[in-house]
């Protein structure tokens, strides 16, 4: 995209993008931390998540501020307008992802106090991997306004949902089989649910990317119309 005649305006938009990237980075670290903790059954790696969440929240407020400022001062139109609008929405989703990771981190503390599971949970591992890559790719696509990749990320949400469903039925069986670990399973379901939500948020971010790129709103319309 060409530069604006007003260099200051460009600088402001760049600054905005940088903040979003930073926020995305923080959220990614939160997600990585809880995934690590969950797969090693250890609460320690997830310890910084709460502090990170504070930073994420602060960033969300600053980005909101910056967007308000740009709208008031620059009256952005067309792609600039769409960029600002997408960012305003995307940061809400990122913040929610942050919240979900905080919730998982809390859950992790109770989980680790409980006895470890007997069987591995491959669906959970799959979910964690998928969600992490979805978020990373969504953030990447956001930075590059890469609508191809955004579309592709959206399609990947399905797999996460399926893994979630599979995990839930497996855990239900496991609960019946060993009721003494009911609390652990229950907590894991909550974690899985959070991961599933994180996938949804990543998908939302990708929808904004498509709106940003094409000026077309693809939310709630299924993938058919996005293509």
């Amino acid at each position: 995209m060409r530069e604006h005649i007003s260099g200051q305006y460009d600088a402001e938009l760049d600054e905005l993008r940088a903040m979003v990237t930073e926020m995305g980075g923080l959220v990614e670290r939160q997600l990585q931390a809880v995934c690590l903790g969950l797969s090693t059954w250890d609460a320690d790696p997830a310890e910084p998540v709460a502090a990170l969440d504070k930073a994420v929240n602060r960033l969300e407020v600053s980005i909101d501020d910056a967007c308000t400022h740009i709208i008031a001062r620059r009256q952005p139109t067309a792609s600039d307008l769409r960029l600002v609008m997408s960012i305003v929405k995307a940061i809400t989703d990122l913040e929610r992802i942050g919240d979900e990771t905080t919730r998982i981190a809390k859950m992790l503390e109770t989980l680790c106090a409980l006895p470890a599971l007997r069987d591995p949970l491959p669906e959970l591992t799959e979910m964690m991997e998928r969600v992490q890559s979805m978020l990373a790719d969504a953030l990447n696509a956001f930075v590059r306004v890469d609508e191809e990749r955004a579309l592709e990320v959206i399609t990947r949400d399905r797999a996460v949902d399926r893994a979630y469903e599979a995990l839930v039925s497996r855990l239900l069986e496991a609960m019946e089989a060993s009721p003494e670990r009911l609390r652990s399973y229950h907590n894991i379901i909550w974690c899985a649910r959070s991961f599933e939500r994180i996938g949804d948020h990543a998908k939302n971010v990708c929808e904004y990317i498509i709106y940003l790129a094409r000026g077309k709103d693809v939310r709630h319309q299924g993938l058919g119309s996005a293509n």
Binding site: H4, I5, T77, A78, L81
Partner: protein, 262 residues
Amino acid sequence: MTDTPTLTFDPADTCLKVEQLSVSYDGKAALREVSLTVPRHRVTAFIGPSGCGKSTLLRSFNRMNDLIRGVEVTGQIHLFGEDILAPKVDVTVLRRRIGMVFQQPNPFPMSVFDNVAYGLRLQGLSDQRALEREVEWALRSAALWDEVKDRLEASALTLSGGQQQRLVIARAIAIRPEVLLLDEPASALDPISTLKIEELIGQLAEAYSIIVVTHNMQQAARVSDYTAFLYLGELVEFSATDDLFTRPQARQTEDYITGRYG
């Protein structure tokens, strides 16, 4: 250009239909094969960088370009289906149907009242009461009445720049044209007067077809239903205003309205 993103309207909703219009001054092209349809009873905005031909296009509609030596016009313009570039057209009648407000306020060196009454008197209205009524209506519509009602006999040249701008708008609407061409009607106005004029434009659009040229994109976005973007004498894009300002289809439009034009 055949791939210009453009709109067409039902013949019944078409006010002006421009086809392949080219205008050149002394052989220098100012407009190149512009084709567009201006809808009836709507506000259409023309935007584009300085010198892109907005005024030229506007002046083609009421044949003001005829007055300039060395001007050459080809193509067609139809006003409600009537060819207005035909040589047999009576331009004085045409100009009563298509009123124009010029880029620079140009009040006559007469009293405020006489300025507004000028066009009415030309049409043979001489009854003082009727004149007063019409003048008051026009001045009120142009949001000027309260400021000048006590100095109707004062010279129009004693008005401020913004007042003069509203005066020439009042003068143009006094003769109740069918189409109103406004070339930067608010360039010298304060924000409140600007909003009043924009409000007026909105009201007038119920009965008139209005074309506004403006350099203020927010203004175009606020007042118009449709917007045409002209660049270097060519029509780049003509879309509904909502679309043009959120998702322009042409790269040049995008660059221009986001301030990337260079």
